[in-house]
């Protein structure tokens, strides 16, 4: 039997959300022990509140009893942000899934945190609007989770990540009080708390209402696919496109292995014998789109593209994107499990880092496949393995760490859009000084002095965190697969 919370806590929480939405049997704890990452830990209790008031009341109970709590959306995170690493209470926000207000003239919508990303766009698309951030999991992931991890997506190249599209929110603070930050209109002055809370991964509280910026959908869109026989040429094309000053809405790269897996899974129409493909999308007013696509086409061909084609219909366009968005799941066709990284490099170092990744794979005898947001240098290497092979698992962690080291060395960073979670918090010392981290710690403890909101996440746990990163060979295997 896994540990349980104090019966008093259980009954208080049941009093708030109703017995039907409190779970603590072994089966139920197991069902809330994972997300889309490899990290696992079981909560002591799960509750699924039905309103912001219930969330606040649950947090008050947790705070009073000093029980840690973790907010959870759809569980599609890939950095373990919603994993209850210290046990405690998982507060699942999936019932808070209402779109509370849509204001087209003022271009904003107020949503509850459990609203699925794509559902917001679907709600406003007939009126010619959309919510821009589009993580690959947008059919599933929640806006609350997007805010927590400051999620990105293929189209963030042109439009920026989640923090560029959040205007304000209602937050339950770690002591259970409710506060409102930001506003639907112009920046209200004072500290930019909306900026602070976006990407805080549930360590500063739980958003219960979120004001999202709505954007005008583009008048026209064009999606292109360029195929290459050499990865180097594809990387060079990316650099050339960005250098030419044509900023596509999305510029994605996929390598040979992922192309094959995706083709087997969804039949997106990618050439299975290419070494790399670029999926390029441009959008904007109809006038000018032809010029942009001509520029992109000639740049792609200049760098040796063996095929360049433009989707001729919306159906064909959706098919091309279906391949890209289904890549994550399709990877399981190659090996049973993957470890997905999210490092970022300056775009001019793409080719360098791709070679580094290939060398790392060879050195550790691993298969690493790549599908990533090339346009903004945001890598997504999938390191594939079989969880039953303990030595392979060990090598997977070594390789992952080496790839992230390489990203940081060439002037990049640890995460583009997945967040830090419990996966990379010990590496924060690679990119921040002790003073930087201390500033963050002081902000965190000012808002959560009791340390109950998603403890052990984002910031390094040790006092001298920079030196505490896992030494080679000490990957906590059991906890990570």
């Amino acid at each position: 039997m896994s540990p349980t919370v104090d019966p008093a806590v259980r009954s208080e929480i049941a009093g708030v959300v109703g017995a039907r939405y409190v779970f603590d049997r072994d089966e139920e704890k197991r069902a809330y022990s994972y997300d889309a990452s490899l990290i696992r830990a079981r909560p002591d209790l799960v509750c699924v509140p039905g309103s912001a008031e219930e969330v606040a009341a649950v947090v008050r109970v947790a705070h009073r009893h000093r029980v840690p709590f973790v907010a959870r959306g759809a569980g599609t995170g890939i950095a373990g942000g919603s994993i209850p690493i210290e046990g405690g209470i998982v507060i699942a926000l999936t019932r808070l899934n209402r779109i509370l207000e849509v204001n087209i003239p003022d271009r904003y919508a107020v949503v509850e945190p459990g609203v699925v990303n794509l559902d917001l766009t679907r709600r406003v698309e007939n009126e010619g609007y959309c919510y821009r951030p589009d993580p690959s999991s947008q059919k599933v992931c929640t806006i609350g989770g997007n805010v927590a991890s400051n999620a990105g997506g293929p189209h963030c190249l042109a439009y920026g990540v989640t923090s560029n599209h959040i205007l304000g929110m209602e937050v339950v603070l770690p002591d259970g009080s409710i506060t409102e930050i930001g506003a639907p209109h112009l920046e209200p002055g004072g500290y930019d708390l909306t900026g602070l809370f976006t990407g805080s991964e549930g360590t500063l509280g739980i958003a219960t209402k979120i004001i999202c910026r709505l954007s005008r959908s583009s008048e026209a869109v064009r999606t292109m696919l360029a195929s290459y026989d050499r990865m180097e040429d594809a990387a060079a094309a990316v650099e050339a496109i960005i250098a030419a000053g044509v900023i596509p809405a999305a510029l994605e790269m996929m390598d040979r292995e992922i192309i094959r897996a995706v083709e087997a899974a969804v039949g997106a129409g990618y050439p299975v014998d290419a070494e790399a493909v670029l999926l390029i999308e441009i959008e904007g007013p109809r006038d000018g789109l032809n010029e942009s696509s001509d520029v992109i086409k000639s740049l792609c061909l200049d760098q040796g593209a063996r095929e360049f084609r433009t989707a001729q219909s919306e159906e064909e366009r959706q098919k091309l994107w279906k391949g890209r968005k289904g890549a994550l799941g399709a990877v399981a066709r190659i090996k049973p499990m993957y470890y997905l990284h999210d490092g970022v490099v300056p775009r001019t170092r793409l080719l360098w880092v791709m070679k580094k990744i290939a060398a790392t794979a060879a050195q550790h005898r691993l298969t690493i496949v790549n599908v990533f947001h090339a346009g903004d240098g945001n890598l997504h290497p999938f390191i594939l393995f079989d969880p039953a092979d303990a030595d392979e698992v060990r090598r997977v962690h070594l390789a992952g760490e080496e790839i992230l080291r390489a990203c940081v060395e060439c002037g990049g960073t640890l995460s583009g859009e997945h967040g830090i979670g419990i996966e990379k918090n010990e590496m924060m010392g690679w990119i921040f000084s002790e003073q930087d981290l201390e500033t963050m710690r002081r902000v965190r403890s000012a808002i959560d002095p009791a340390g109950v909101a998603n403890p052990k996440k984002v910031l390094p746990s040790g006092a001298r965190c920079g030196e505490l990163s896992r030494s080679p060979g000490s990957a906590p295997a059991g906890a990570w697969i």
Partner: protein, 440 residues
């Protein structure tokens, strides 16, 4: 033959990406992880590893699944969820983990009723008598005084009022013969959706098929399989394999999506039985849903005009279980005068799911209500589907919504079109229905 750990190896293919979540009707209605495909796979992993034991918690969470397999269509890793679920339910059933009432109910229907044509027939006759006599009104007024499960059951009961007699073992094609089809009648269909069976025969013949209906066929075993009664399902499968291989027909045809999906997995079901493995695979390879067979007829036979606005609702076991969704639409679009409109969520389950309506009435009706809202918002003159369970469930949904839109099997409409004369519009449909004169 019991379930082996290797029967759960498909669970390892799940990378917990969660892309299945928005496609799962129970998760959408009850958004907790245990009510999602990913959560259920996790529980089944626990069961396979021996970490979780068969018991009330697993039974509760795994029995809530409709088995619609929408998650399989959504899964980028190709996890065979339906297969996993059948195995898990078999483990739970063998461990006696099912609750007393639901397992007693299941046992009664799965062992004593569906596999026995005589019992089923007698039951249908008694229900027919009940539904046509004064007795029903008397019982209903009595039940109103004590609402509860029995009252609900009474209200959910399908219509048994039209008796159906089995067709002769062989019926010639109308016109030149294109092929020979062996027809699976299904166990319940003859008694509550007999018109759909008649229509299937008629349309097949109209398309040039000679139709054989072997007398010794049995229930397909789908309901048994979904409830964990694997051995019973295997027995029925063997009986059907032997009945259908004896016909020598080009194709084995059914107009019941649920039965078709089960027949198409006979090879898997009997794969460990040396005597039957090959024979079952051979029969399985000839199984086609009736829409698949008809859609291949080239050129299609002439059809009369049917001036109706129709919506087609995909049965889960046709769409997800067999990957058939274009063929019914293709056939309907070919009917002159018919306007085919599309629902917003054609892939949403209707909540029928075999005996789920009886075992999980509340969830079933919630899923159904969402379906009806979608379908009725299109203001169709007629709702069409391709599975008897869905047919009955949608009729229940229409009644619950206070509407009177008729619900029929696609075959009934095609039969009417092939029979002629033109159907002039909704008024005529309301007055005379689709059946008209029986032609057999």
């Amino acid at each position: 033959m019991t379930v082996e750990p290797s029967d759960f190896s498909a669970a390892k293919d799940c990378v917990s990406c969660g892309l299945c979540l928005p496609h799962c009707p129970t998760y959408r209605e009850y958004p907790v992880e245990m009510a999602s495909p990913r959560g259920r796979i996790e529980l089944m992993k626990g069961l396979a590893e021996g970490e979780l034991q068969p018991g009330p918690a697993l039974e509760e969470h795994l029995s809530l699944c409709l088995g619609c397999r929408a998650c399989e269509t959504a899964c980028p890793s190709d996890v065979r969820f339906g297969h996993l679920l059948e195995n898990a339910r078999a483990v739970l059933k063998d461990a006696g983990a099912s609750g007393w009432t639901s397992s007693a109910l299941r046992r009664l229907f799965l062992n004593q009723v569906f596999p026995r044509p005589a019992v089923l027939s007698a039951l249908a006759s008694s229900l027919r008598f009940y539904q046509t006599s004064m007795l029903r009104r008397w019982v209903q007024s009595l039940l109103r005084l004590m609402p509860g499960p029995v009252e609900r059951l009474e209200a959910l009961m399908p219509d048994f009022t039209a008796p159906w007699s089995a067709p002769p073992p062989e019926l010639p094609a109308h016109g030149p013969e294109r092929g020979v089809a062996a027809f699976l009648t299904g166990c319940v269909m003859p008694h509550c959706t007999g018109e759909a069976n008649d229509a299937t025969l008629e349309v097949l013949r109209h398309h040039g098929y000679r139709v054989l209906t072997p007398k010794d066929q049995r229930c397909c075993g789908a309901l048994h399989l979904h409830s964990g009664y694997q051995e019973e399902a295997r027995q029925l499968a063997r009986a059907n394999v032997s009945a259908f291989e004896a016909t020598g027909a080009d194709v084995v045809v059914t107009s019941s999506a649920g039965c078709g999906a089960a027949l198409k997995e006979y090879g898997d079901l009997l794969s460990r039985d040396p005597e039957w493995a090959e024979r079952s695979r051979a029969v399985e390879s000839r199984v086609r849903d009736v829409h698949q067979v008809l859609a291949e007829t080239d050129p299609p036979p002439p059809m009369g005009r049917i001036a109706l606005r129709a919506v087609y609702d995909d049965p889960c076991h046709l769409l997800h279980g067999q990957g058939v969704s274009l063929e019914p639409r293709q056939l309907l679009r070919a009917v002159p005068g018919l306007e085919l409109v599309e629902a917003k969520e054609p892939d949403w389950c209707c909540g029928s799911a075999g005996i789920y309506t009886v075992t999980h009435t509340e969830m079933s009706l919630r899923v159904l209500d969402r379906k009806m809202e979608d379908l009725l918002s299109l203001e169709p003159d007629i709702i069409l589907t391709a599975n008897p369970g869905c047919l009955l469930q949608l009729r229940l949904g229409v009644a619950r919504s206070g509407s009177d839109v008729p619900v029929h099997h696609v075959m009934e409409l095609l039969a009417r079109a092939s029979r002629g004369p033109d159907l002039t519009g909704p008024d005529e449909l309301r007055r005379h229905g689709l059946t008209g004169e029986r032609t057999r």
